[in-house]
């Protein structure tokens, strides 16, 4: 990884110094163990902070909206390309001002799984060795099998980086993801097979935890509306008609989550950021995956599926 980090810094340095981009968007270490955070460099001397390793979880593409019209380079992983393309299309971003820097990712390391396994011990990431991660646990270096500590989204890694522009940059570094045979809809199918009553209890329990912080929406690249239907257009007491009140009660919470799931259906790139940021661990990906699964079964599915139709669509009951 060291070589990769170095290559990344050199690239950022060059692009900023030569004025090819005004901003380089990447990752740096955060202030907590195993935490990596988004990092923004506008001057060549700032590039020393950049890193790339399997703890670089955040999807940075939505930040592009904040710098619309500026020349920006952004580090992406392959799995984030669908969300990038969607954002580009939805918000009509100027593609030629954006430089994608595709990082060679061999699968992300799930810090939650590590913390669970080695709770209470100091943890430090050392290296990605293809089939294994090397992590320092306390005083000891441990070699951990990748598939046991892989971040959930990596189980459905697209492993492709097509449709890049000639100006985009692929960082070369040998990495590999062990081949994984998993059903991306396993969680959805499991829940589908439970009795309706149990499904309701499940969603009641998890939704009751929602604090309506809207982090899931703020981070979502498919939620890029200028005005979201959940943002009240008028201050407090003057509101008469709203989609729903600010109460943290189930009717409102269900409305929010089901609406959002429908709004992003067919546009969601399954980057999993909504689930990552949720402070009360609501399994939001179950909803979007459920819809993705249903939509795949529709005939003649095109982009914007819910705003299109086919004469052969199934009948509602």
């Amino acid at each position: 990884m060291r070589g990769l980090t170095e290559a990344l810094r050199e690239l950022a340095y060059r692009l900023l110094r030569e004025g090819e981009v005004e901003l380089f968007l990447g990752y740096s270490w955060g202030t907590l163990p195993l935490v990596v955070r988004p990092c923004f460099a506008t001057r060549p001397e700032q590039v020393e902070a950049f890193i790339f390793n399997p703890l670089c979880l955040p999807n940075l593409v939505k930040y592009l909206l904040r710098f619309e019209g500026r020349r920006v380079a952004v580090v992406v992983k392959k799995c984030e390309l669908p969300s990038f393309r969607q954002l580009l299309a939805d918000r009509n971003l100027e593609r030629k001002k954006i430089r994608l820097v595709v990082a060679p990712c061999g699968g992300l390391l799930d810090p939650a799984k590590l913390q669970k396994e080695f709770s209470g011990q100091p943890l430090e990431f050392i290296a990605d060795r293809g089939k294994e991660y090397v992590v320092r646990v306390g005083e000891e270096e441990k070699v951990l099998a990748k598939q046991l500590y892989l971040y959930p989204r990596c189980f459905s890694c697209p492993q492709k980086d097509e449709d890049l522009e000639p100006e985009d940059i692929r960082l070369e570094f040998s990495t590999s993801l062990p081949s994984l045979e998993v059903d991306p809809y396993a969680g959805v199918s499991y829940l589908e097979e439970r009795p309706a009553e149990e499904r309701r209890e499940f969603w009641d329990r998890v939704f009751k935890r929602c604090i309506r912080c809207y982090a899931c929406r703020e981070v979502c690249p498919a939620c890029s509306c200028h005005e979201c239907c959940f943002d009240p257009p008028l201050p407090g007491w003057q509101r008469t008609v709203d989609w729903m009140s600010k109460a943290h009660w189930l009717p409102e919470i269900y409305q929010y989550h089901l609406t959002r799931a429908l709004h992003v259906a067919g546009r969601c790139g399954e980057c999993g950021e909504c689930e990552r940021v949720c402070p009360v661990k609501i399994p939001l990906m179950l909803l979007v995956k459920k819809l993705a699964k249903e939509i795949q079964s529709l005939p003649g599915v095109e982009p914007g599926i819910l705003a299109s139709y086919s004469p052969d669509d199934p009948e509602p009951h």
Binding site: C229, W243, P251, Y254, L258, A261, V280, Y309
Partner: protein, 146 residues
């Protein structure tokens, strides 16, 4: 509210050109149907944003019906095709979170089908009555939130 006095509340979104006319016809022709339904007239079934349905449930509906022209007869040519896809997806989602299928129904009822309208309402009310009050989206005021 005791179970005895509970009556199902059905919200029906009816397209102006067909199903609303069918409701009218049912009235004029004196086909009887239960009074549990609150009708909301919409220009076309495709006017029904899924959020309307969610909001109706959140505000206490026990069942929601969307009805429009038969496929091919939509006044706006393709409106009900759009509605069909969208509402089919909404049905899958509602069932996934545990709602009983009978609570949210979509039917195509032409302006001439007053009897079919009355029959649809009657059947729906009967089914929802058996299911009881809608418990999904129900208010739970628990002191341990978050």
């Amino acid at each position: 509210m005791s179970v005895k006095e509970w009556e199902p509340k059905i919200v029906a979104f009816l397209c102006h050109w067909c199903s609303y006319a069918a409701a009218d016809l049912a009235g004029v022709s004196r086909f009887s149907y239960p009074p549990n339904v609150r009708i909301i007239r919409v220009p076309c079934s495709s006017r029904v944003n899924p959020q309307f349905v969610l909001r109706a449930f959140a505000e206490g509906a026990d069942g929601v019906l969307v009805a429009g022209c038969h496929l091919g007869d939509c006044h706006y040519v393709k409106g009900n095709y759009y509605a069909r896809r969208r509402l089919w997806v909404l049905q899958r989602l509602l069932e996934f979170v545990g709602m009983e299928p009978a609570r949210f129904q979509v039917h195509w009822i032409s302006g001439a089908e007053g009897a079919k309208f009355a029959e649809t309402i009657k059947e729906m009310v009967d089914k929802v009555r058996i299911l009881g009050p809608n418990r999904l989206f129900q208010e739970v005021k628990d002191i341990c939130v978050g």
